[in-house]
Symmetry: C2
């Protein structure tokens, strides 16, 4: 009893001490009272009307989806760069990035037995094609990789269907990523997955997938929740399932795309950089506006607001729209290579990304030191008026991952994600799923955080 | 003041008197205390497990959609009749019904300008085809029939798109029903509607439509909410919209379908009939299980429960699965003709229909005399344990409409319809949108009401 109490006291002391020190530390580094007025101005500018949302809407309608290698992506980049130049930022430039170029082509899946039915589907990114006549084979339904292992001796020559209900994205996406490899290892001729999402109106989801050296590449596609569940039921009833899969997909030589970078130079420490943005590429369905034109444009609008309000922070602010997040992450890697190459990586004091949809913002998830976390929490208090002041531990973004792994503190905008995976990577990722008010709040949240972090008395510590 | 008070008192007296009389009347006709045990048995039998839902699921998986004229509809009717015969009902028979036979064929819509995009679509029932090369034309977007009238001089040679957001089904469906006629009258070459529904994941809705003698028949189809709204925005921005519409649809000679009728003969007044059911045909998408295999099967299960429990009411109970509700109502009309022809219409004491999806049941909407309403309300009290005891004024069903118009009291099962129009007439009307528990409650609700109405001391008055 005594020893436990002693431990408890000691822990309590340690926690209190840490908390106390961090808060003092944070307050020394950033005096948020001094930023209340600027934060209010930024929030008011972001929230004032629906014009920013209308601008995003026009972009979404004009270009639609923007897949790596597509004309649409490069046209949209040209258009953005041109508009950014009109904004009069200190510097607008692009960085060439070699990106994979996968083309879906014509594709279909048809249930042939026990009855004929067209199966809405989307081939998964990077998949090989079927032979021209398609692949018609019996289907082996499995519920997990373990289940596949148990049924391995039945898989030869079959199409494996992974009917795995959505739990978390991280768990369920494994079947999209590794499904073809694991199925090929046990002799399957193609693999299908239940689309990675919790809800469907016969809505297939696409996304990237992988092959492994030394394992036969077999075609890999997603069918809908409804059809996967139905086929599973049929199989459980002992019926023989046959599917005809036809896919034209091909991988062309790498294409050239671009990261877009717009800068406001810092007034006192221009060499220090706060970088934030999203990814401008999308999947080849829908408008790719939740994922992730919205994140890109929110960052861009944040920078515009600072410029309009005449708020030039001490450090440089850089908005980046990374390319090829979806099927290669080449943009994020190329950015890292550039800033490592020119020695500016060490001066990246903070990286932020919005890639969870510009829904109602809740705050940020931060990855960095305790001192930096305390300082970000302190800045977060300025977001109380719009409710996006919840700063939690852990977070980042795919595109900023490469520089975060080199030591840059990073964080991701956290939003109400309750419907994110309804639309993610589907034809239903369209502007009508978003709202002007929530978008404006995302802009305000990004702008206040970026501005104050870039202007604080002391530099955010690593 | 005095005269108003006098009127108020008089009204109060009249209402009270009516209310009092009806209740007394109802209690004289049906002593619900005598039915508490039977109602409890019925509810327990309906709610006991998921087997009834599994049975409905197997049906939905086996036959899929069942459109008038299709092999699938007739095969499903064969299967049901065969199963019903195994149930040992007193009588199982079918009534031949000539039904329209419209075939969708291949179809597509493509936005050609301002950018190319495939538009998910469904041709509307009864539509004519386009010429083989399709119809490519400029699009005139309108918000209502009034708006079309105002823009009538711009419609010549164009495709009219009605972008009308969903309000109520009754209002919005007018554009599906009459859209082609009104567009043709002002010289349009085809017409498109925003799908009739409040929610979409790029989900087109189909449904029936009409032509008018003397007005040119033009192709008529539905595109999605997302695309209709996008095209409207583009048009508002002054962009020229062009769409290529290709439809193969054709109307073949009438086919023969069947109403299915299963009976339990009454023990004392077999000539008096309580009839209830749903429609067995569906649109040619999805599984047509919400609309309306669920309603058919709920009625069937209700009759099975009575049989299993040895509950034979005084009057005859008849379950009917009407055919061709969706695009002709030929089943409901043929049933009326049959019962008028053989003189049994007068003995139909009550008709009930479930065609709003077998979601959580709330009660019934009733159309008939005050005395009958009071009696149905009284019976409704037996449904309190499952919360479906809310009996309201007004209601019926499309298939029972023809006999209701001839004087038969009628009512419709009322359910939680909050997502009904998400799925209605779309590929997303599949079994996974329903739940076993809610389905069981619908069965219990139909069974208790039908049984007690058929067994009550006195006949439900007209
Ligand atoms: Zn993304
Ligand atoms: Zn219906």
């Amino acid at each position: 009893m005594k020893s436990i109490r002693l431990i408890c006291f000691t822990l309590l002391f340690l926690f209190s001490a840490t908390g106390f020190n961090s808060t003092v530390y944070a307050q020394e580094h950033v005096d948020i009272e001094a930023y209340r007025d600027d934060a209010e101005k930024i929030i008011n500018a972001a929230m004032k009307d629906n014009q920013k949302f209308e601008y995003l809407t026009q972009f979404a309608d004009r270009f639609g989806h923007r897949f790596s290698g597509s004309e649409s992506l490069e046209n949209s980049i040209d258009w953005i760069v041109n508009e950014m130049k009109k904004d009069g930022f200190d510097r607008v430039f692009t960085q060439d990035v070699k990106v994979p170029y996968w083309v879906r082509g014509e594709e279909s899946a048809t249930l042939m037995s026990p009855r004929k039915k067209n199966l809405p589907m989307l081939g998964l990114g990077g998949s090989v094609a079927t032979p021209e006549e398609g692949i018609e084979a019996e289907v082996l339904v499995v519920s997990s990789f373990e289940d596949l292992k148990e049924k391995a001796d039945q898989a030869e020559g079959k199409i494996v269907l992974y009917d795995v209900p959505f739990t978390t994205y991280g768990q369920t996406v494994q079947y999209r990523l590794r499904g073809a490899v694991e199925a090929a290892k046990v002799g399957a001729v193609a693999s299908l997955i239940r689309s990675v999402g919790p809800y469907s109106m016969q809505t297939p989801h696409t996304g990237t997938s992988r092959y492994e050296d030394g394992v036969k590449k077999i075609p890999h596609a997603a069918i809908t929740l409804e059809d996967a569940a139905m086929i599973h039921r049929m199989s459980d009833r002992g019926e023989t399932i046959r599917i005809l899969l036809e896919m034209d997909a091909k991988t062309l030589p790498n294409a050239t795309s671009r990261n877009i970078i717009a800068e406001m130079k810092g007034s006192e420490n221009p060499e220090e950089i706060v970088v934030f943005g999203g990814h401008i590429d999308s999947w080849d369905v829908g408008q790719g506006v939740m994922d992730d034109a919205g994140g890109c444009f929110a960052a861009w609008e944040a920078l515009r607001i600072m410029k309009e309000l005449g708020l030039r922070p001490k450090r440089t602010i850089r908005v980046v729209m990374w390319t090829n997040e979806e099927n290669g992450l080449r943009g994020g890697n190329a950015y890292r290579d550039m800033v490592m190459g020119n020695g500016s990586l060490e001066n990246h004091i903070l990286a932020m990304e919005s890639d969870g949809g510009v829904f109602e913002p809740k705050g940020f998830g931060f990855s960095g030191s305790d001192e930096a976390f305390a300082m970000i929490k302190e800045i977060g208090k300025l977001l109380e008026p719009i409710g996006s002041n919840n700063i939690t531990r852990g977070g980042g973004g795919a595109d900023i991952g490469p520089i975060m792994r080199e030591g840059v503190p990073g964080m991701g905008l956290v939003v109400d994600g309750s419907r994110y995976f309804w639309y993610h990577h589907t034809a239903a990722d369209t502007i009508d799923k978003l709202s002007a008010e929530e978008y404006n709040k995302c802009i305000a949240t990004m702008a206040v955080m970026a501005y104050v972090a870039a202007d604080a008395e002391k530099t955010l510590p690593r």
